[in-house]
């Protein structure tokens, strides 16, 4: 398993601003993922963060809105840019350890409210 921390745990932001969320893992992992969980809804994958290359975005998500960095094998950031109230969600980081096909471990999440 892996221990994952996220910062901040929650934030309240103004419309039009940007917020960067950090994800730190206690071990080196190949694959890191960013998900969004909108109020009362399921998780939706935003992108896969690859170390040393561009992130791979899912349909409906673009790099200009959700830029991702992955500078090393234990850290990643997700920025939510030019925020609107529709961006209010929980943002979750997860890692795939590679030891088991598809098994992922999740961070505690960042609860974002945009006013």
């Amino acid at each position: 398993s892996a221990v994952i921390s996220q910062k901040p745990s929650r934030d309240i932001c103004q419309r039009g601003t940007s917020l960067t969320i950090q994800c730190q893992v206690d071990s080196q992992v190949t694959m890191m993922f960013w998900y969004r969980q909108q109020p009362g809804q399921s998780l939706t994958l935003i992108a896969t963060a690859n170390q040393g290359s561009e992130a791979t975005y899912e349909s409906g998500f673009v790099i200009d809105k959700f830029p991702i960095s992955r500078p090393n094998l234990t850290f990643s950031t997700l920025t939510v840019s030019n925020m609107s109230p529709e961006d209010s969600s929980i943002y979750l980081c997860s890692v795939g350890t590679g030891g088991s096909p598809g098994e992922q471990f999740f961070g505690p999440g960042t609860r974002l409210t945009v006013l």
Partner: protein
């Protein structure tokens, strides 16, 4: 394309009674299936998975799930529910090819009544 359906938004069960949380899936090829639990104000916790082998999979906290290929189902079960089992449960799937990203169901809120 992969997809997961959790037909029940809410399941209520009395403490001590058996519980079932339903999940059906659609995937190309052999599925990898997972159950996660989300307690209030906490992240998702892995419960159990089916990759291959025995259709009955045992996981954390006394939960188990049965893989049924003909019915494309992976229902979560527990013989005797505890009040502390009250949480949001997510079923997830990925196929055996491609990246490790998971596709999640919409979640089922389980309430165990004392």
């Amino acid at each position: 394309a992969q997809s997961v359906a959790q037909p029940e938004d809410q399941v209520n069960v009395a403490e001590g009674n058996p519980l079932t949380v339903k999940c059906t899936y659609s995937v190309s090829g052999n599925p990898y299936l997972f159950w996660y639990v989300q307690y209030p104000n906490r992240g998702l916790q892995f419960l159990l998975k089916y990759i291959t082998g025995d259709n009955l999979v045992k996981g954390s906290y006394g939960f188990e799930a049965e893989f049924n290929k003909s019915q494309t189902s992976f229902h979560l079960k527990k013989p005797s529910a505890l009040v502390s089992d009250s949480a949001l449960y997510f079923c997830a799937v990925r196929d055996w090819t491609g990246a490790n990203n998971l596709f999640f169901g919409t979640g089922t809120r389980l309430t165990v009544i004392p």
